[in-house]
Amino acid sequence: MPFIPHTEEDIRSMLESIGADSVEDLFDEIPAGLRAPPLDGIPEGLNEMGISRLMQERAARDGMPSNFIGAGAYEHHIPAAVWQIATRGEYYSAYTPYQAEASQGTLQLIYEYQTMMARLTGMEASNASLYDGASALAEAVLMAVRVNRRSKSKRVLVPGALNPVYRRVIDTLIGNQGIELIEVPFDETTGQTPVEALAAHADDDITAMIISQPNFFGILEDVDGLTGWAEEREVPVIGVVNPVSLALLKPPGEWGGNGVDIVVGEGQPLGAPLSSGGPYFGFMTTRKKHIRQMPGRIVGRAEDADGKSGFVLTLQAREQHIRRSKATSNICTNQGLVVTAATIHMSMLGDEGLTRVAEACYANTHALVEKLAAKGIKPRFTGEYFHEVALDFGGDAAGQLQAMADAGVLAGHDLGRDYPALDGCVLACVTETKNENDLEQYVAACEKARAA
């Protein structure tokens, strides 16, 4: 029996100690009529060699296409040490650090993580992470509603150029809490969210506003203008950012006059593999003054009985296991293991490494755009972009994408699926992992698909 160490002699002596005749006797409180039928739908067990063979075949089946899809999940180089250390048993098989004295490894690491995220986003405090970027944004909206006690409307401005899936996740997760999401349209020429688009809401009671930088199309927003508009009206701002871009871009803590109130985003680009969408982690940072409204676990420095410094879970009175129905969220876990990887990843890259990664992403994306422009394929928008770009494929994007996939190039994400006005446009992302050959392969596959 896999992973069960008992010998026949163990079983016999344990049953004797219990005073039971058989293991079956231990289930005698379950009503007889409820007993499960044999689990015929489950296959026979495999040993490690057998399952290894099966999984290797499954993992290899789909080939290794060259990936240019981003749209919320980004391919980056991850140093070998990152997951080798993160999957050490002491991190991998520990649980939430409730017994602080026996969990200083995890706790100190989270404190270091919180420091890195606060610095990267230009904010004062961070939690220990949430599930992913989309759910972190839903939590941020709830938090902003708690923070803005002045507003009665529970109306939140959401840019149309926000990742459309994030918008749907917010709808799902907080749709039952009476919050109204109002869409702010983007400019169809620049791809930006113009400050003028906010004019329609100048006199409304707005509870919070979301700004995405870069936005879903990779376009850089006028974050100072947008934040300034909200500041004038004392509307809390939630910044949604790509953490790698922050090596180059102004951190949300400096947007507008005083910076935003809450920052969230998808942490995946900081050391989590694409892995079909997860596990990733959502990060959240904020101002000290809002800390008690922040959901999720938070680690703080503490002194022990000897006056020695260490770390504990703090502000637990916000959480479900203490406050139950009055908690800030039902969330229990953070994404501990992925945060462990991200912390090692950020330490390994440092300012210089992360900046080089961001610059390489920027350079490679712009190089692809240049190559495609020579073939008549142009960006759909005129705005400045970071490492993602909406390319106008000129019709039947789905067909061209499939043809390119069949040639081994996953060329991007079909924007027409969520934006009818962008039918025929493809969102492509080029990170530091791509070289000149990869770009040539993209262009060649693209030309072939268009000719077909």
Partner: protein, 503 residues
């Protein structure tokens, strides 16, 4: 265990030092307009690759974990996490697959996910399974949101209450609130079962549903579950099963057969995916007939041509929607799949049998060593409760004291002070993967602490003594919050301009 003081990674930093092999080639500066650019470097660590490897390896040595210590944390199912689950989930083909890759390039992955859904369906007796929720608490949310969608679709909008037993996990009431419901608590009777009279009084046309854990959080099987199901269903409510304790009944009794309409499973408990220091979890949800239309998306389905595809909103117009940007935590799901395939149908049943054998044995031995069980007349399930009510009164030995002193003996503490209704409680869950010798050694340590409490309570009260830190002043920490590191004023690496740190 490493008990030496460990500096922060920032304190290992030296301006100008970096892990050179990890940086891509330098590129020309970007044309990003000045007003959108960062003005000073973020202040990430400046360390060599060895600095980083050594620091985080040494930090890891300050953790208790399943791989290093017995970890009988009740309600958390800290069983062995087989290494093959990790290495096979991290095969390059799985790691490099983009979540939006087309179905034509995803068949190996999708088939695996489909088979996982089918195995989970079989073992829970539900009609279908969603892999979308990212953790147990999100699985709970999914279940209650579907209950709400069901009532709303029928125009039955007067149902405002979710019933929750007082012994329930804190996530249950918190979840009900997130779904826009009010919470009505009902008491547990003296044998550990739900108080049926209180339930009958609580149900009515306002009842949307009940959230139950079975075996319950007090470590006993809810014997009158069929009666409970009938009472709630007759009142028009639905039954939600919190799968936290599924390890106790795997292959023995199925939530679907008990009458539950929707359940969540904690794959990081029952199906042995790693707890990872607090996540990632995975809260797959099993769904009964009535709630099928409301399942979250995406959902893996057969494509009718021998392949697999992801169904979305267009396929399921009544879906409650999306819970994450993509489809939950596939890396965790792959680990659960490997574990389930290794167990197979026989191994699955052995899990609950040996988890139960270990718990009943440990309960009996601790009783023999002088500890009181909270429900001595009941069978233990996969876990049980020790109460130190008597000792707390007589010698001052509390559940918290035992927990801390156990750390000195090299054992992680059981869950303390949960469930809230049992005074001075330790919730002990040994799991099936521990040997008799380990359980005996644990009993010995517990007996030792009990003996020590009679003549040297101070040593216990001031424990732990053998760990990196003694007990912390958590109250002071919550008052004077220190949540991020501040560089000493004379060494502010983060204030240096970025242009000076790379080229």
């Amino acid at each position: 265990m490493n008990t030496t003081e460990t500096k922060l990674i920032f304190e290992h930093s030296h301006a100008g030092r970096s892990a050179v092999a990890q940086a891509p080639q330098a590129h020309a500066a970007t044309a990003i307009p000045a007003h959108l650019r960062r003005k000073s470097a973020p202040g990430l660590p400046a360390a060599s690759e060895l600095d980083v490897v050594r620091h985080y390896t040494r930090l890891s040595q300050k953790n208790f974990s399943i791989d290093t210590e017995f970890y009988p944390l009740g309600s958390c199912t800290m069983k062995y996490n087989p290494r093959a689950c990790n290495s096979l989930a991290m095969l390059p083909g799985f790691l490099n697959r983009h979540p939006l890759a087309p179905a034509s390039h995803s068949q190996g992955f999708l088939q695996t996910m489909y088979e996982l859904q089918e195995m989970l369906r079989e073992v829970t007796g539900m009609q279908d399974v969603s892999l979308a929720p990212m953790a147990g608490a999100q699985g709970e949310f999914t279940g209650v949101a579907m209950i709400r969608a069901y009532h709303d679709a029928r125009g039955d909008t007067e149902r405002r209450e979710i019933i929750v037993p007082d012994a329930a996990h804190g996530t249950n009431p918190a979840t009900a609130i997130m779904c826009g419901y009010e919470v009505r608590e009902i008491p547990t009777d003296e044998t550990g079962d739900v108080n049926l009279e209180a339930l009958k009084e609580a149900v009515g046309p306002q009842t949307a549903g009940i959230m139950l854990t079975n075996p319950s959080t007090v470590g006993v099987f809810e014997r009158r579950i069929e009666e409970i199901a009938k009472i709630v269903h007759d009142a028009g409510g639905l039954l939600y099963y919190d799968g936290a304790n599924l390890n106790a009944i795997l292959g023995k009794v199925r939530p679907g057969d008990m009458g539950f309409d929707v359940i969540h499973m904690n794959l990081h408990k029952t199906f042995s995916t790693p707890h990872g220091g607090g996540g990632p979890g995975s809260g797959a949800v099993g769904v009964g007939e009535r709630l099928l239309p409301y399942m979250p998306v995406p959902h893996v389905e057969q494509d009718g041509q021998g392949g697999y595809r992801l169904a979305d909103e267009a396929d399921r117009p009544e879906t409650i929607g999306r819970l994450s940007a993509f489809m939950g935590n596939p890396g965790v799901l792959l680990r659960a799949y490997v574990y389930m395939r290794m167990l197979g149908r026989e191994g699955m049943v052995r899990v609950s049998e040996f988890a139960t054998l270990n718990a009943n044995y440990l309960a009996r031995e601790l009783k023999a060593a002088g500890f009181d069980l909270a429900y001595p007349e009941r069978r233990a399930t996969h876990e049980f409760i020790v109460t130190l009510k008597k000792q707390a009164k007589e010698t001052g030995l509390t559940a918290g004291d035992v927990a801390k002193r156990l750390l000195d003996h090299g054992f992680h503490a059981p869950t303390t002070y949960f469930p809230l209704l049992v005074p001075e409680c330790l919730l002990v869950e040994p799991t099936e993967s521990e040997s008799k010798e380990t359980l005996d050694a644990f009993v010995e340590a517990m007996a030792c602490i009990l003996a020590e409490s009679a003549d040297d309570i101070d040593t216990i009260k001031s424990s732990p003594h053998n760990l990196p830190n003694r007990r912390f002043n958590e109250v002071a920490a919550a008052k004077a919050l220190d949540l991020v590191y501040q560089e000493p004023a004379d060494d502010s690496a983060d204030a240096q301009p970025r242009s000076g740190t790379h080229g």
